[in-house]
Each structure stands twice: as structure tokens, then as C-alpha cells.
């Protein structure tokens, strides 16, 4: 992944204290979802500043300088992505906001949209101004009905207040925003499938190139950004790129909203600088492991990221470090698995997700996920063969790098990483016809389940 941030030699002093909350600062304020309350807490001032103090291109530079990277999964540098838009184009250009958040273990965008929809709307307006877009679309996952309604209401309120529409705050900048409710497909979070879906077609990913920046929505140049990415913009506009870039690590700047779930005492969303260690997240913010159990595995970036073993607890959660450890920070959906969890069962659950959410366009993903699930199912039920384990790996090899879009690759993550870390546990299922831990650990249980199938 390309990265635009310059290497910083000396660290700036922390301008906003050790734990700034660029995104969630006012999330506890009652009624922050209402425009009056939002404005009373400085809402839309960043927009006014952006419109007044920056030319669009300067704003792009400012975002580049902030080091902000996409929070949707791939972590692509946001300012750089914007600069890929052609300067001139005969077709209208668009901004599409990816609020399809469906990655298992990820629930930050939902919170942003439900709790402080105006923060997103303000970010969308700033991004549109910077990219010279006059029509933005906010695509909200259909199941997140409340989030969608909140965003719709926020857009309505912002229109009434003159933040959306013609000549916004006398800047001469025009913008329309359309909110769209998805229809229930994980694949529509993939940016090109999202575009297809917005155009009213089936949610199939598109062939690239051409990339959306060149040929996107309705064939116009299009930027697609995640909700959290855009929600960071008001803070960057307000405090300046340098203040934002003062946090995080060398190449992973600013804060992230970590979605902590699994067997911890206090699951939830926690905003903290990038580079936060897993241990701090679990122990300090998450209140430690439930029932005092031990960590068995961590899935650091949503179910699509390979799981890591308990030996990685001191890993700093930034893009580079997690990648170096063999996984991905992805959506920062950190799922913590305790030692009483059957890893084969957990893998089965995740595999089922990918089988059910595969769009079915390409052969390896459509058929591979179908086959993988049946095999893991058989293993989990204690009816598998030892050769099934290597077969799983070979099926994953035939899928990985050979699918049309990253969903197919993602489907192999949990299987490959769990076999790598916990092969013995798989073998135990084969030899003992039972789980190693958890309720299925007795032979009777496993056999009963198998027979029930």
C-alpha cells in the first residue's frame, strides 16, 4: 500500500494531551445528534473554517499532511486517493460514503452515524468541497436502520441550516447529499459493488481498472471513503493537520475507533491513537478478560484478518506492525477469543459468514466457500479426516489470490491462520471426535451434534 506521509524525524509535542478524541469527543453529550446541540459544541465551525481558509486543493494537501488513512479496511492514504481524481472530466464527479459496515467485529461507523450523524455530515461536506464534488451519496447498511434514519435526519437539518445546498455559507460551493439504504449484502461494502448497488444493479464488484477515481458512479470520477475516515475531517480542519499527525505512529497517524469485542469485560468502541498496544486495549480499556480467562487468539481487524496468537499481545495496533505480524489492522474490529473457545467452531462460524456473503460472481469464492464450510463442519462435528486439514489449506491456496475481489481471499484468513496456530486442535477433533475445549469437548456432545446434522 502506498503511503504519502513523509518520515518524521522528531516527534512534535502532543498539542491536545495524550488522549485526544478527534472523533468521539462529544459523543457523551446528550442530544449531540440534534443540530442545535451539535452546533452548540462547535459543530459546523470546522466546515466554516474549511470553506473560508482553504482552497479545495489546499484542503487536499492538508489532509495529505495529516497522514489520514482510510478507516474502511485497506488503509489507503486519504489525501492521495483524492488527488487521483482527474482535474477535468466531462461527467459529474461524486463522493460516496461507505457506511455499509458489515465486517464481523466492526461497529464503529454504526456508532458514529447513530450518535453523532452531524459529525459525518460535516465531514462529507468538507470532503466534497476538497474534491470539488457537488453530489455526495451516503450508503448506509440496510440493517442499520437507526443509523440510516439518523443520517437522513441530519442531512435534512443541515439542508435547512444552509450547510447543504446552493452557495454553502456564502462560499459559492454547492452540494447535494443523498442517503441510500443498502439491501443487506456484505459485498456492497466493497467499493465497486457499492457503486453497482447505488446504481440499482446487483451487488457485484467491478473489474478494475478502471478505478472508481476515473470511472466510478454513473461512470463519473468517484471518491469512496469510509464513515470514520470522513468523521475525522472536522477535527483535522479545526485543529490542523499537524495536530492530527502528532498522534499515532510514523506511518499510521491520528486516532482510530477500535471496536473491541469478544471475551473481554467491557466490549465497546474505544478511540485511541494508532499504535495502541493490544494489551492496553484489552486490559486497560476493555477491563481485561471475562471470568479471568486467558487470551487464546486475537483477530485484530475484523473477521477478514488472520488471527494472531496470545504471544502477540504487545503488538502495537498500527497498519505496519499488524501487517508485519502476519495480519491486518483492517477495520480495527478487534475480536478477542478466550481459551475456552473451540477454534474450529469459531472458524466454522466465520466461514459460514463468507459462504453466505460471497456474491457468487467468481468461481473460487462461490464454490470454495461452499466446500470449506462443509469440510470445517465435518471436522467440527468430529467426523472429519486428518487429510481434511491439508485439503482445507489446499482449497484456500486455490482461492487465495485467485478470486475476483478481496472477499474471497478474506474467506481463507480464518482457516489458514487457525490451522497454522491450532493444528493440534483440528487433529484433536479428528482423533477424539470431540472439541478440545468448550461445551463440545465431550465425545457425547460432538457425536450428538453430528447425528443431529
Amino acid at each position: 500500500m502506498a503511503d504519502s506521509t513523509e518520515t518524521q524525524t522528531e516527534r512534535a509535542p502532543l498539542p491536545l494531551g495524550p488522549n485526544p478524541r478527534f472523533i468521539t469527543e462529544n459523543f457523551e453529550v446528550p442530544g449531540i445528534d440534534q443540530i442545535e446541540v451539535y452546533r452548540a459544541h462547535g459543530g459546523y465551525e470546522a466546515l466554516a473554517k474549511a470553506l473560508k481558509s482553504f482552497q479545495p486543493d489546499e484542503l487536499v494537501e492538508e489532509v495529505k499532511k495529516s497522514g489520514l488513512r482510510g478507516r474502511g479496511g485497506a488503509g489507503f492514504a486519504t489525501g492521495l486517493k483524492w488527488s487521483f481524481l482527474p482535474k477535468e472530466s466531462p461527467k459529474p464527479r461524486y463522493l460516496c460514503v461507505n457506511g455499509d459496515e458489515s465486517e464481523p467485529g466492526t461497529f464503529k461507523d454504526r456508532m458514529i452515524m447513530e450518535v453523532s450523524p452531524h459529525l459525518l455530515v460535516e465531514g462529507v461536506i468538507i470532503a466534497s468541497y476538497a474534491t470539488k464534488v457537488h453530489h455526495a451519496f451516503i450508503y448506509v447498511r440496510g440493517e442499520l436502520l437507526k443509523a440510516g434514519l439518523q443520517v437522513e435526519r441530519a442531512v435534512r437539518e443541515a439542508v435547512e441550516a444552509g450547510f447543504i445546498g446552493k452557495d454553502i455559507l456564502g462560499s459559492g460551493f454547492d452540494l447535494a447529499i443523498t442517503v441510500h439504504h443498502g439491501a443487506g449484502a456484505y459485498i456492497c461494502g466493497e467499493e465497486s459493488a457499492l457503486l453497482e448497488s447505488l446504481e440499482g444493479k446487483r451487488g457485484y464488484p467491478r473489474l478494475k481498472p478502471p478505478f472508481p477515481a476515473v470511472v466510478g458512479l454513473y461512470s463519473g470520477p468517484t471518491v469512496i471513503n469510509n464513515v470514520e475516515t470522513l468523521a475525522a475531517l472536522p477535527a483535522i480542519a479545526r485543529y490542523g493537520a499537524d495536530a492530527y499527525a502528532a498522534y499515532g505512529t510514523e506511518k499510521s497517524k491520528g486516532t482510530r475507533v477500535y471496536c473491541l469485542s469478544g471475551h473481554v469485560n467491557r466490549p465497546g468502541n474505544y478511540e485511541a491513537p494508532l499504535g495502541l498496544s493490544l494489551r492496553t486495549l484489552i486490559e486497560d480499556l476493555g477491563g481485561g478478560m471475562r471470568d479471568g480467562r486467558a487470551v487464546k487468539a486475537i483477530i485484530p481487524g475484523g473477521s477478514s484478518s488472520p488471527m494472531l496468537g496470545a504471544d502477540k499481545l504487545d503488538l502495537p495496533l498500527d497498519y505496519e506492525a499488524v501487517a508485519a505480524a502476519g495480519s491486518m489492522l483492517g477495520s480495527a474490529g478487534v475480536i478477542v477469543v478466550d481459551d475456552q473457545t473451540c477454534i474450529v467452531g469459531a472458524t466454522l462460524r466465520m466461514s459460514e459468514f463468507y459462504r453466505d456473503e460471497s456474491c457468487g460472481k467468481c468461481t473460487p469464492c462461490r464454490e470454495g466457500t461452499f466446500w470449506l464450510v462443509q469440510l470445517v463442519e465435518r471436522l467440527e462435528a468430529g467426523e472429519g479426516r486428518e487429510s481434511d486439514i491439508d485439503l482445507l489449506l489446499d482449497i484456500c491456496d486455490n482461492m487465495f489470490g485467485k478470486c475476483f475481489c478481496p472477499l474471497g481471499d478474506a474467506a481463507t484468513s480464518c482457516i489458514v491462520s487457525s490451522i497454522k496456530l491450532f493444528r493440534d486442535e483440528y487433529i484433536h477433533h479428528v482423533r477424539e471426535h470431540a472439541c478440545l475445549v468448550g461445551p463440545g469437548a465431550t465425545r457425547a456432545h460432538a457425536t450428538a451434534e453430528a447425528h443431529a446434522r
Partner: protein
């Protein structure tokens, strides 16, 4: 045509260098080298999809395997198609495809021509590691009247769906559900009702889509595949006529990029009645005691020759006439007029056709000046009283392709048309008023001074006169009479005049409507005066009725015209023909179709035509009352029932010859099956009748007749089966390169220019005569 030279890109595949046009995909480059890269979702006539993941190759410097169908070639690219990684990936894809594929190959119609079977054999794993449960669907479900879908066999390549959506641009098959539950289906609210539906059966790489008519009927390896030309309409799509023993089972496409673009319509694909119908005539019939009774060929031929000969002898050639066919081959049309002109001494020969104005007793080539492929370059396509979806379907499909490339289509028709939905404009008029509409378009062009180009400039003097002749055709007047919108007529006329290239097409039979008399001339003038003529993507002409409607005209099945549109009184032509034929043809024009049928002759030879269906009760009685009527046909038609002698002929799949399609393309028709026992090819029957008349014709195959056409018909100069090659050539023909073996190829003319029409094509015509002919009131 001065084509822009394509930029070539050089790459190597498996160590072999190859150059292909920029923008090509790796698959096409490999194909050029004869290297097979297996594909399922890719189809050369559709945009790449990249879904099946079958076409993996290794490209140097690319981290992952690449799909050859989506990867564009680049200068210096190094591609490997058979590395261990590629082999494993292909095996992987095939194994995936097979886990949910039923093992019903032994009863599957596709078996033997199935890409899944074939590629599994060539690239697949020997055995599957899948030992779990397959996904099941209810076995075949109908998707329309003709096609069944077996969802278990579907590999979700989306070819069929993309054909419906992207090529046919119509409702039809869609993808439904997702993931491993993915299936092809039809929305009940948007049924798969399309004349192009059969293409999905042909392009389905597996046996998921099968034709009802072909199910469990044959195995592909039992088929004899005759490379011929479809004889069911004027488009002339290239086909493989698939024959099992003595039955024509289907026609599959034999891609000709310039004509059919690789597609067929359902009529061509599945209407096998001409060859297979149990109603076919199997022996000559002679009327005895008022009833048609079986006879031998010798008896029938002798009777026909004797009767025609005697009447011509007794009352002169004018007493005899012939109505020829728009279905038979050029060779047969040629022999038919030769028999009448040479053997019976009459120019009384015609066929059922549209009304085309004729100047100075001179037949003219009323023909589409451009080509089907040229449509893709048009900025505007105007359909006047034409409905190609129903009548020339594959031209409709090409119009859809032109629309995808940005062409604006105007549908000017009396009734709703399938192209309306995609058209830039539609003008409805009261049936019969098409000619008035064309006159109004011309009126606007002239009155608003929209003419442009050299042709119009050189004729400024006659334009006022032409306009004066259109005084009754103001948009207002026409809109009142024809019930169409005057403003729309103006808009259309202005668009035509401003077009980068407009193609104006009218249906041949629209010229027979009440006001259609001058339609052909008015449309021609409209194109000429707006400079929409004489280049690819601009032109005008009729969409003809039948597979050899144009050939019939070309070959001189016209009372005023010898083969190649040379007037019957053209001295030079007559001299040349008398040298070839040994007899001077009559100088006076003969009787036309209507005149012959209105009692103008005593004996009539009807070949492959059914005039009785165009006649009133009295007309049919007159036909029955002729002194002698002989009908040569496949079936006992309404006309044949009135005949004294009926001669059984064979259909186009049972004989050799050539057809000329509606865009002047002369193509080779090849015999794909044995003649129906008892029936004979028309050219053989004609030869035998001629010989019974003592003409001493020695033709023993159709190629000999074609060679004679090449010597006697200027626009077909030098024509030969070899020279026409696999894809045919558009007349006027000219000699092409001489090949190593001394055989000569032919080169054609993709479009006609005004100069060609005026000087070369129809010899001896002053260059002012053709255009503006309607203005001078010359009608035939």
C-alpha cells in the same frame, strides 16, 4: 477505405513473439498464436467479466496470476500459459466448478460440445476431492417457450445474462440469489421474450441452457455441420447447418463479423421446416382429369418444355412469362431469366418486390449503399417504415450495437417497435403514410436549406424544382394526413442534415404502401442532398424482404433489366450477351409482375413464388384459367394447387449456390444435406427444361453457372466460389489478389458512392438521372 493504421503491441507468449492491436486482451493474442487459453465467462463479442477464473496465465513482473481475458497486452509483456502455477490454478478452478456440477453428462445434450467436459479433459484434475453433498435444484425449468434451464449444470459464467442485458438490451435472463445459491432466472414481470433468445443456448458453455427442439435428439458427434448461409431473411447470417442423417436440427453461428457478428435470430436457428416438413413435395405432379397426380420427372419436364415451347412458337415469346423467386440462389435466378429470354424469347420476367422508381426504362440498383457493419459508425440511424426486429432481426441487433456506440436512432413507423425504448425519437404515422413522411422530411430539408455537400451544390438549379414538387408535403400538411407530429418531422430532418453520418433505411415492402410509390427515391435524395452517402456509416437503402431479394434483382429477374442492371435495350449489353448466350435477347421491355398476372400471358412459369396469395378471387381464377401454369416449389402452395404441372424443388440447405444479402454481400451457399428424395435443385430442373427445349445446357454444377454470371454480369465480374471465400464480398466485385496456387480472390465494395452508381454500377446513366428522379415524376 482509408482505415487508420492500428497501433500494434509486441509481446511474447510461451516464448513466441506476437503483435496484436493495442487494447487487445492476452487471450486474443494467444489465440492468434494458436495457443488455447480456456475460457468460460469471456466471450469475444462481449466485455470481459473476469468471473470464472479459468483463463489464468502468468505474466512476468505481476505478483499474482493474471486472467488472460481481462489483462490488456503491453509492449514487451512476457506471458506464460503453462507454468506449474498456471496448471494448478486451472485445476483448482475446474475442481471448484465440478463440485456442484451434476454428473449427468451421459444424458446431457451438451456432451460432446461442452467446454466443461473438454477443458476438464485437457486441464482438469483427474479426480475430485469433493466427497460431500452437492447443491440441488429442480431439474430443467422453462425460461421461455423454446429454452429450458438446468440450474444444477450452470457454472454462473453470466454469458447468457450479459447477452440479454448488454447485447440484446432486452428483458430476459438475470442472475438471482447470491453465493453458492446463485442461479440464473427470469423475473416474472420481465419475461424472456426475445427473437434473439437462442443465442444464449449456443453461448452457454455447459448444458444449462438447452433448446426444447434439440433436447435428446442428437449427439454433437453425429452432426454433419454444413458451413452455409441462412436462407430465412435478407440478412444472410453465416451458419453451420447441423444435420443428423436426413434432418436439419438447428443452425449455429459461423461468425461473420461483417454480417451477423456471431449471432443468429431464433427463426434462423430453429425454423427447420423448409428442410424437414412432412408437407414437402416428393414427386412431380401433373394435372390429369382435373386433379394433380404423381408423375415421373421425365414426363413432367417434357410436358413443361412442350407446353411452353408450343405457346411461344404459336403466339410469340410475349405470350409466355415467368415469375421468379426471392429465395432461390443467384445461379437459379440467372438460369430462370436466361431460360425465358433465350429459350422462350421473352423479357416477361419479374418477381414480387417493392416499388422502386425507374428512370428511362432503365432498371437501377435500388440497394443499401452502405453495409451492416457500417451501422456501427453511423451517428444517426433512421428507420422509415422498417421493423428489423421482426423482419431482419440481426440488423436490429447491429443497430443496438450502434446505439451502444452512441448512435441516435429514429424509429418512424406505423406501430410500436421494439427499438422504441432505445431510440432517440419515435414518430408514429397512420399506416400507409410512410411515403408522405419521407416527402415531408425532404420538404423540410429543401425549404429550410439544410442541404449540404458537393452533390447538392452541383444541383442547386434543380433543387427549387424539387421543392416545388413537394408543395403538398409541408410538415403541417403531412402531419394532418398522417397523424404525426410536425415538429418531430422538422427535428428529424434537421438531425439528418446535421448528422456526422446518417443511415436511412426503409423496408422494401413499405414502398408498396399507399403513399410508398416514391419512398425509395425520396429517401435516396434525402441522403444525397444531406451528404449522407458514399462512406461507411452514412447511406440509404431498402431492407429487403427475402434471403435473395437482391440477388433476384441483380440477376435480372426484371422485365426491363438484364443481369447486372443493364437495360434490355442496352445495345452493348445485348451484344455481349448474345456472344455469351448465342442468341439476341428481345429489345422491348417485358411485362411486369402485375401485368403478367392480370392476363398478360397465356403460359406462366412460377418458380419459388406464391402469387396466388397476392391475388383476389378473380385473379386466382385467371391464374387457374391460364393455358399453362407450371409451379416449381418445395410445397403445394396456393399457386401450385392451380397449376398444370408442379415440380418439387429443394431448400437452401440441400444445394450449392450463392445468395446476395440486403447489403450487396454475395455469399457462398453450401449443400449441407442430401436432397429430399424425389425433389431436385431448381437449377437442375431449369437445366433439364432448357435441354428439353433443345438449348443444350451443359451445367453440371452451380459453380459453372456462377462462372458464367462472372462473365456476363458486370457487378459480379469474375465471381467464383473460391473468390467469395468464407465471408463473401459486396458488389461491385473486382479482382483481388492472386494466390500462390493461381486462384484469384475477389475484393468487394463496402459502400457505394454516388459516382459508382452513376458511372460504373449501372452503366450508361447520366449522373443526374438517378437522384431527383422522383421530382421528375419518373415511375415504373
Amino acid at each position: 477505405m482509408a482505415e487508420q493504421v492500428e497501433e500494434l503491441v509486441n509481446l511474447t507468449i510461451d516464448g513466441r513473439p506476437v503483435s496484436v492491436p493495442k487494447g487487445s486482451v492476452v487471450w486474443a493474442a494467444a489465440r492468434k498464436l494458436g495457443i488455447e487459453i480456456p475460457i468460460y465467462c469471456y466471450h469475444p463479442k462481449m466485455d470481459p467479466l473476469g468471473a470464472c477464473r479459468m483463463c489464468f496465465v502468468q505474466v512476468e513482473k505481476m505478483p499474482k496470476l493474471a486472467t488472460a481475458c481481462t489483462t490488456q497486452v503491453a509492449e514487451g509483456m512476457v506471458v506464460i500459459t503453462d507454468s506449474p502455477q498456471v496448471k494448478k490454478a486451472r485445476q483448482g478452478t475446474l475442481e471448484f466448478l465440478l463440485i456442484n456440477h451434476p454428473l449427468d453428462c451421459p444424458i446431457c445434450d451438451k456432451g460432446g460440445e461442452c467446454d466443461l467436459q473438454d477443458f476438464t479433459l485437457r486441464y482438469g484434475p483427474g479426480a475430485s476431492r469433493f466427497d460431500l453433498s452437492k447443491r440441488h435444484f429442480q431439474k430443467p425449468i422453462p425460461v421461455n417457450e423454446q429454452i429450458l434451464l438446468d440450474r444444477e449444470r450452470c457454472i454462473a459464467c453470466q454469458r447468457c445474462v450479459r447477452f440479454c442485458q448488454d447485447v440484446a438490451m432486452e428483458d430476459g435472463l438475470v442472475m438471482q440469489e447470491r453465493g453458492f445459491r446463485t442461479e440464473v432466472g427470469v423475473e416474472p414481470s420481465a419475461p424472456f421474450d426475445s427473437i434473439f433468445s437462442g443465442n444464449v443456448v449456443e453461448m452457454c458453455p455447459v448444458g444449462a441452457l438447452t433448446a426444447k427442439s434439440y433436447r435428446f435428439v442428437a449427439r454433437p458427434w453425429e452432426l454433419k455441420r454444413g458451413a452455409t448461409v441462412c436462407g430465412q431473411c435478407a440478412v444472410g447470417c453465416n451458419v453451420l447447418a447441423d444435420v443428423r442423417v436426413d434432418k436439419l436440427l438447428r443452425q449455429y453461428s459461423r461468425t461473420n463479423d461483417d454480417i451477423d457478428d456471431g449471432f443468429l435470430c431464433d427463426r434462423g436457428r430453429w425454423n427447420t421446416d423448409l428442410a424437414n416438413s412432412p408437407e414437402r413435395l416428393r414427386q412431380p405432379l401433373i394435372r390429369r382429369d382435373g386433379k394433380l397426380q404423381s408423375a415421373t420427372w421425365d414426363e413432367a419436364i417434357a410436358l413443361v418444355a412442350r407446353s411452353l415451347g408450343e405457346i411461344a412458337q404459336r403466339d410469340g415469346g410475349e405470350a409466355v412469362g415467368g415469375i421468379g423467386s426471392t429465395h432461390t440462389t443467384n445461379e437459379e435466378a440467372y438460369l430462370f431469366q436466361k431460360l425465358l429470354r433465350v429459350g422462350l424469347g421473352t423479357n416477361n420476367v419479374d418477381h414480387f418486390h417493392g416499388r422502386f422508381p425507374q428512370g428511362d426504362n432503365d432498371a437501377q440498383p435500388w440497394v443499401w449503399s452502405d453495409s451492416i457493419a457500417g451501422l456501427e459508425r453511423a451517428s444517426h440511424i433512421v428507420l422509415l417504415g422498417a421493423d428489423p426486429y421482426l423482419r431482419q432481426p440481426i440488423i436490429d441487433l447491429r443497430i443496438r450495437k450502434a446505439i451502444r456506440r452512441g448512435a441516435r436512432v429514429w424509429v418512424v413507423s406505423p406501430a410500436a417497435n421494439r427499438l422504441d425504448r432505445l431510440a432517440a425519437g419515435a414518430i408514429r404515422y397512420q399506416a400507409g403514410q410512410v411515403g408522405a413522411v419521407a416527402r415531408a422530411l425532404l420538404q423540410v430539408t429543401l425549404s429550410e436549406r439544410l442541404t449540404r455537400g458537393a452533390f447538392a451544390e452541383q444541383r442547386q438549379a434543380s433543387l427549387a424544382e424539387r421543392l416545388a414538387g413537394l408543395a403538398d408535403a409541408t410538415p403541417e400538411a403531412v402531419s394532418a394526413a398522417a397523424g404525426c407530429d410536425a415538429e418531430a418531422l422538422r427535428t428529424l430532418a434537421r438531425e439528418i442534415a446535421g448528422a456526422k453520418g446518417a443511415v436511412i433505411l426503409y423496408d422494401e415492402m413499405a414502398t408498396r404502401e399507399a403513399t410508398g410509390e416514391t419512398l425509395a427515391a425520396d429517401a435516396l435524395d434525402l441522403a444525397l442532398l444531406t451528404d449522407n452517402f458514399g462512406r461507411a456509416g452514412a447511406g440509404v437503402g431498402p431492407l429487403l424482404e427475402d434471403n435473395n431479394s437482391l440477388g433476384a434483382r441483380d440477376m435480372g429477374l426484371l422485365p426491363g433489366s438484364l443481369p447486372g442492371y443493364r437495360a434490355v435495350d442496352d445495345e452493348q449489353a445485348r451484344a455481349e450477351l448474345s456472344a455469351a448466350w448465342g442468341v439476341r435477347t428481345p429489345e422491348a421491355a417485358g411485362l411486369d409482375y402485375d401485368a403478367m398476372l392480370a392476363g398478360g400471358v397465356k403460359a406462366l412459369y412460377v418458380l419459388g413464388a406464391n402469387p396466388a396469395t397476392h391475388l383476389s378471387e378473380e385473379g386466382r381464377a385467371a391464374l387457374a384459367g391460364l393455358e399453362f401454369l407450371v409451379v416449381q416449389d418445395l410445397f403445394l402452395t396456393e399457386t401450385a394447387k392451380l397449376a398444370a404441372v408442379v415440380l418439387p424443388a429443394v431448400s437452401y440447405t440441400e444445394k450449392d449456390g450463392t445468395f446476395t444479402n440486403t447489403e450487396r454481400c454475395v455469399q457462398v451457399v453450401r449443400k449441407a444435406m442430401l436432397e429430399l428424395p424425389g425433389a431436385r435443385a431448381d437449377w437442375q430442373i431449369l437445366r433439364d427444361v432448357a435441354n428439353a427445349l433443345g438449348l443444350g445446357w451443359t451445367y453440371s454444377n452451380s459453380a459453372q453457372i456462377l462462372a458464367e454470371i462472372g462473365r456476363t454480369t458486370p457487378i459480379y465480374a469474375g465471381v467464383s466460389r473460391h473468390g467469395l471465400g468464407q465471408t463473401g464480398a459486396r458488389w461491385p466485385l473486382a479482382p483481388g489478389a492472386t494466390e500462390a496456387d493461381g486462384q484469384r480472390t475477389l475484393s468487394g465494395s463496402p459502400f457505394l458512392t454516388w459516382e459508382m452508381l452513376a458511372q460504373g454500377v449501372a452503366k450508361g446513366r447520366g449522373s443526374d438521372q438517378l437522384a431527383l428522379s422522383a421530382g421528375r415524376g419518373e415511375q415504373a
